[in-house]
């Protein structure tokens, strides 16, 4: 009915949302049909009264009509209810107040009946309307809260800024049925305003306007992204969000500006969280690499020299012109050269990973990778004979991809597998399994059935140049597990040693799962 009452003008401010939505719900339940309802109800009441006439008195008829009016008032808005009351009173008068079959002048009794019915209709429909309003409001605010909760929940699973902006764009575009553009600050730099990635000069002007003012700016005259708001974190502005709804009615139905503002606040919070953890993370990495670098030099000179010395001695012996060596001895020397070269190669690979880790997270080349592929190439790279046959891989079919630097993770797997193979009895198998950890990570376990690692050494094994009490002489520099930890930490994962059920060591670590920024296309 009256749109101007139930629909506030579009310029009205945010808190009116509930009333507006409620008004809409109200409107749809009181069209003309509700007025029309009065007639069959009054007719039915009259019929019932007619039927019960032999046993009833006038007061009973009033009750019957009243019940009809109550039935309508329970479902309809006040106006149709009052209308029903009037129709019922008139019917009552027409059929049952003598003279019958005509409208008589109201006497005191029927005036009282009339007033009573109208009051009852008014009160009941008023009460009912209040209830309905409350229910609608509750439903709306529940949907609103759910949407917000879902959004912030999803944001908390994103671990990098570029992913965050494209993820938020997609999510908001879907939610509001709108074109959305998100530009985020990276690191500590100010927002690169000329790199907003906008083609239209007008859009850029509006965006900059919003950035300067730090609040929501709208200009319906601008084609394209015409609604811009600054993402304000707790301490400073962290980005810009531009939006152009494809359908303004749908936009306001979902929650309109209030929801948008709250989503923006959530997004700003998520950006700040990532910026902050970036900074802390960088500091941690810095400290770690400092420690690494200092002890690296010492290790390198010592550990490169050992295999080199063996190679030099063996090779020079075999190459001596006047040597009387048997073929068998000569082959033995060559074998030494090959083995020691492999050892040197392993060391160099680890050193290379180390330099990579030293240059910090920026040097990580992260791509979505499949654990199956990483494991396959790690196993192929093992220099231990018969390694592949001793390793059992268990991966669930729906294991998510991981977002990692393949070289580092492969090196981590190689180091863990070589350790496991070297310290397990010949012929025993090594188990490798990976599972979705559910918290945005994938949990990988390398399980052996060797002697295990003593409780007090389980932390120390990750320290540089630590050789466990059960270490073998042929091993590496004590760098293997250190690199594993540095690599896992660089991916913001955790690594630890545990006891295998039934004896042995289990190393478990987490890697971030990849978040697909684009839907798969398969037609």
């Amino acid at each position: 009915m009256d749109q101007s009452v139930t629909h506030p003008p579009p310029s009205s401010e945010e808190p009116r949302l509930w009333q507006r939505v409620d008004g809409r719900g109200w409107l749809t339940t009181s069209p003309l049909t509700h007025y029309a309802l009065a007639i069959p109800v009054a007719a039915a009441s009259s019929l019932i009264c007619q039927v019960i006439t032999p046993w009833a008195q006038l007061a009973d008829f009033v009750i019957v009509y009243l019940l009809g009016v109550v039935a309508i008032a329970a479902r309809c808005a006040p106006a149709p209810s009052l209308f029903a009351a009037v129709i019922s009173v008139l019917s009552f008068d027409f059929f049952f107040i003598p003279p019958y079959w005509s409208l008589s002048a109201p006497d005191a009794g029927s005036v009282l009946t009339f007033v009573g019915m109208v009051v009852v209709a008014g009160v009941i429909s008023g009460l009912n309307q209040g209830l309905r309003k409350q229910r609608e409001t509750a439903k709306r605010s529940e949907a609103f809260a759910n949407t917000l909760y879902g959004f912030s929940q999803a944001l908390s699973e994103v671990h990098s800024l570029p992913q965050l902006s494209s993820f938020a764009e997609r999510r908001l575009a879907k939610l509001f049925d709108a074109r959305v553009h998100v530009a985020l600050q990276s690191g500590t730099s100010a927002l690169p305003t000329d790199e907003l990635g906008l083609d239209s000069a007008e859009e850029r002007r509006l965006a900059l306007d919003a950035w300067k003012k730090g609040e929501l700016v709208e200009d319906p005259a601008v084609p394209g992204l015409n609604l811009w708001l600054t993402l304000n974190g707790a301490h400073r502005s962290v980005g810009l969000l531009g939006l152009s709804p494809r359908n303004s009615k749908r936009f306001s139905d979902v929650g309109g500006r209030p929801l948008l503002l709250m989503c923006a606040a959530q997004l700003a919070g998520a950006v700040e969280r990532l910026l902050l953890s970036d900074a802390t993370h960088r500091a941690e990495l810095q400290a770690e690499t400092e420690r690494t670098r200092s002890s690296l030099l010492a290790a390198v000179s010592h550990d490169l020299r050992n295999p080199l010395a063996a190679i030099l001695t063996a090779a020079s012996t075999a190459a001596r012109a006047d040597s009387q060596l048997s073929d068998e001895v000569r082959r033995d020397l060559m074998r030494t050269i090959v083995d020691e070269s492999e050892r040197l190669n392993r060391l160099v690979a680890n050193l290379l990973s180390m330099t990579k880790l030293e240059s910090g997270e920026l040097a990580l080349q992260r791509l979505p990778e499949e654990m199956a592929e990483l494991l396959d190439s790690a196993i192929r790279a093992l220099s231990i004979p018969n390694a592949a046959a001793r390793i059992r891989v268990h991966l669930p079919a729906d294991l998510p991809s991981v977002d990692v630097d393949a070289v580092l993770v492969e090196q981590t797997l190689i180091n863990l597998l070589e350790n496991a193979l070297r310290y397990s009895p010949t012929g025993s198998t090594i188990e490798v399994e990976a599972n979705d950890a559910g918290d945005g990570g994938v949990l990988v376990r390398v399980i052996d059935h060797g002697p295990g690692i003593r409780l007090e050494e389980r932390e120390k094994v990750f320290e540089k140049f630590f050789r466990g009490s059960g270490s073998k002489r042929d091993g590496g520099a004590g760098l293997g597990l250190t690199i594993c930890r540095a690599a896992v930490v660089a991916h913001r994962g955790r690594i630890r040693v545990q006891e295998t059920a039934g004896g042995g060591a289990t190393v478990e670590f987490t890697l971030p799962r990849a978040i697909l920024t684009r839907e798969l296309e398969d037609d």
Binding site: D376, S377, I379, V393, V407, L516, R518
Partner: protein, 230 residues
């Protein structure tokens, strides 16, 4: 007497070059040596080798450029040799037309396997055929039908395209970029996760043990290759 395949080694480091040639001759190949890109290109045009081993770190010219120049005139298979931390260059060389790569340091057996494969599949790559069959896997490039051990395998259109790009060039490493461009088009060349997911699906359908693939092999950080048989 059958003619020995002639292999040209372009490598500036004398020790490495000499060792490579000794190893190759030991396996029954005839060898040519060049220490510079210029000399290598000259010998390649003069002697038409069956295979080129090309070091990417040459003093006088970029190895990627040498690959491009060779490809302009010859279909000769090229295996590039590069240092461990030069993946970007490797990928460039592969996109420029190299068939395969080995990373220093490598074991002799690894190199020989690549050499054998490159020589064996060179004719397949040079001459497109209508179908592929290796005793187990059959791919009909005309009808797009795929069967494994005589059983028809149902593939989605993207899965088929991906498989076909690899199978058409057996043994050759195809880079992520090339695969994505061929299957999903030029706007998707950085969506490596497509490949991960679709390769997993293909392996699930075609490999005996999808976690230990025997045909659809990963070239870590670079691309994928199809290995027809041993």
């Amino acid at each position: 007497m059958t003619l020995q395949p002639l292999i040209l080694t372009i490598e500036d480091e004398p020790a490495m070059r000499r060792t490579l040639c000794v190893a190759l001759r030991d396996q029954g190949y005839a060898t040519l040596e060049a220490a510079t890109a210029e000399d290598g290109l000259y010998q390649a045009s003069l002697r038409a080798p069956n295979l080129v081993l090309l070091d990417l770190g040459l003093p006088d010219r970029d190895g990627v450029e040498v690959t491009r120049i060779l490809r302009r005139t010859q279909q000769v298979p090229i295996i590039v040799i590069s240092a461990r931390d030069a993946e970007a260059q490797q990928v460039e060389a592969l996109d420029a037309g190299a068939n395969d790569y080995v990373t220093k340091p490598f074991r002799e057996a690894e190199l020989m396997a690549r050499v054998r494969a490159a020589l064996r599949y060179a004719p397949h790559i040079a001459k497109p055929s209508e179908s592929f069959f290796n005793g187990r896997l059959r791919v009909d490039f005309m009808t797009h039908e795929v069967s494994l051990d005589g059983q028809k395998v149902v593939l989605t259109s993207k899965q088929y395209k991906l498989l076909a790009v690899l199978v058409r060039q057996p043994g050759r490493v195809i880079t992520y970029r090339t695969l994505l461009r061929e299957v999903w088009g030029p706007s998707r060349v950085s969506e490596v996760h497509y490949l991960r997911v679709f390769m997993k699906q293909l392996r699930d359908k075609l490999e005996k043990d999808p976690t230990r693939p025997e045909m659809l092999l990963t070239a870590q950080r670079v691309g994928y290759r199809f290995k027809p048989s041993d």
